[in-house]
């Protein structure tokens, strides 16, 4: 079955500390992995897509097919990074459907 697991509901760090938000997936085939971010009471917006291999707002994520993981990392957290982060997996059964993880809330304290 296709599944996305984000094991941490809450990740609490201090400003300047490194951050790693974990994402593991289950998928048979060639997956596409995404990280979406949702700032307080705003719409979800795409942060990263594994194919593009970009660094956005200092965040990076590498797809590890051996470990079926797509962890999100940032070397030095900022207070403005506080948000809800969702890992998503596609395609799921055609029509560009995505499967989302339960999300991890990142809280960056001053």
């Amino acid at each position: 079955a296709q599944r996305v697991t984000q094991p941490e509901k809450l990740l609490s760090v201090f400003k300047g500390a490194p951050v790693e938000l974990k994402c593991n997936y289950s998928y048979s085939g060639s997956p596409e992995l995404f990280w979406y971010v949702q700032y307080s009471r705003q719409r979800l917006q795409l942060l990263l897509r594994h194919i593009s291999r970009e660094s956005i707002k200092g965040f990076t994520a590498d797809l590890n097919k051996g470990e079926t993981s797509f962890h999100l990392k940032k070397p030095f957290a900022q207070e403005e990074d506080s948000a809800m982060y969702y890992c998503a997996l596609g395609p799921s059964g055609g029509y560009n459907k995505l499967i989302f993880g339960a999300g991890t809330r990142l809280a960056v304290h001053p």
């Binding site: 979800l44 395609p91 560009n96």
Partner: protein, 113 residues
């Protein structure tokens, strides 16, 4: 924001009443989706559409119906709202059929008393 709006943005209703949420897009995208967002569950797909009058069920479709009579509008209806349908509802689109990235609307916060 990929031209996606949702209405209403907030609604409080009573158990047993019908509720319709609207998703409107201005860029003629073919694929549209309705999700609900709940703590501990993330986003779960309710229904999706791949064209006018072409819709299908998602993961959590019980108690919901949809309609798409025009490309720009995708309506989600709760036939008889229940307290378990209290949630934040998001609409999304994909801009290209060969590209899985989804763009989201601002959300509708629905409270069923």
């Amino acid at each position: 924001d990929a031209g996606i709006t949702q209405s209403p943005r907030h609604k409080v209703t009573e158990t047993g009443t019908p509720v319709t949420l609207r998703c409107h897009q201005t860029e003629n995208h073919r694929y549209m989706y309705w999700y609900r967002q709940d703590p501990g569950h993330g986003l779960r797909l309710i229904h999706y559409s791949y064209g006018v009058k072409d819709t299908d069920k998602g993961e959590v479709s019980d108690g919901y119906s949809v309609s798409r009579s025009k490309t720009e509008d995708f309506l989600l209806t709760l036939e008889s709202a229940t307290s378990s349908q209290t949630s934040v509802y998001f609409c999304a689109i994909t801009q290209r059929e060969d590209y899985n990235e989804q763009f989201f609307g601002p959300g509708t916060r629905l409270t069923v008393l």
